[in-house]
């Protein structure tokens, strides 16, 4: 079974530039998550989708971050404009359903903002 795919793996940009990350979840997984992992910290949820609808985006900095999940499969996370403090690994995860249960994480996209 293929895992969660993410791209790009690495991205270096200058502050105020924009960047987009792509995620393809495990086939059949209804719930998709984007987590931000800053170096030395645990992952923090940015946004959660159930199929193609947003169910939790309370921790997403909406002035600069946006995300969509068209057709309830792939998802894209965008940052515009980027700040230095956005340097982190952006992890995409998916699960069969919303609620307690195993999350399957991708390898992440490491963003460095200079």
């Amino acid at each position: 079974e293929a895992g969660v795919a993410q791209s790009p793996r690495y991205k270096i940009i200058e502050k105020r530039q924009s960047v987009a990350f792509w995620c393809n979840p495990i086939s059949g997984h209804a719930t998709l998550y984007w987590y931000q992992q800053i170096l030395g910290q645990g992952p923090k949820l940015l946004i959660q989708f159930q199929n193609n609808g947003v169910v939790d985006d309370s921790q997403l900095p909406k002035d600069r971050f946006s995300a969509e999940r068209l057709k309830g499969v792939d998802s894209t996370l965008k940052i515009q404009p980027a700040k230095l403090e956005d340097s982190a690994v952006y992890l995409c995860a998916s699960s069969l359903k919303r609620g307690p249960g195993e999350l399957f994480f991708g390898e992440g996209s490491r963003l460095t903002v200079l």
């Binding site: 645990g42 939790d56 699960s95 609620g99 307690p100 999350l103 994480f105 991708g106 390898e107």
Partner: protein
């Protein structure tokens, strides 16, 4: 505010020894407590999880001990091996509006010396 507090930040154990990582939480609405293992350059992967209706769960060399009254839980790794060297995250989630949102601890970097 850190919803889940984890200690120690780093741990060095001799091969064959016991590794113990502790976590504490405040939110009594949490009802699912997983541990995730993360290797460098990889996403976290579920190791073991427990619900508060049991005080202990064991899977192979990994055991979760849960103390509901103290709002604490811990991971014990018996017969620690060099291959166990990784970062371990405790996490918690509950019901309501935050259904599906995992709150992670800050992580414990475990090093097992051969």
């Amino acid at each position: 505010q850190q919803q889940v507090k984890q200690s120690p930040q780093s741990l060095i154990v001799q091969k064959g020894g016991i590794s113990i990582i502790n976590c504490a939480y405040e939110n009594t609405a949490f009802d699912y407590f997983p541990w995730y293992q993360q290797f460098p350059g990889k996403g976290p992967a579920l190791l073991i999880a427990i619900r508060p209706d049991v005080s202990e769960k064991k899977e192979g060399r990994f055991t979760i001990s849960f103390n509901k009254s103290a709002k604490q839980f811990s991971l014990h790794i018996m017969d620690s091996q060099p291959g166990d060297s990784a970062t371990y995250f405790c996490a918690a989630t509950g019901r309501g509006s935050t259904l599906g949102r995992l709150y992670f601890g800050r992580g414990t970097q475990l090093t097992v010396w051969p």
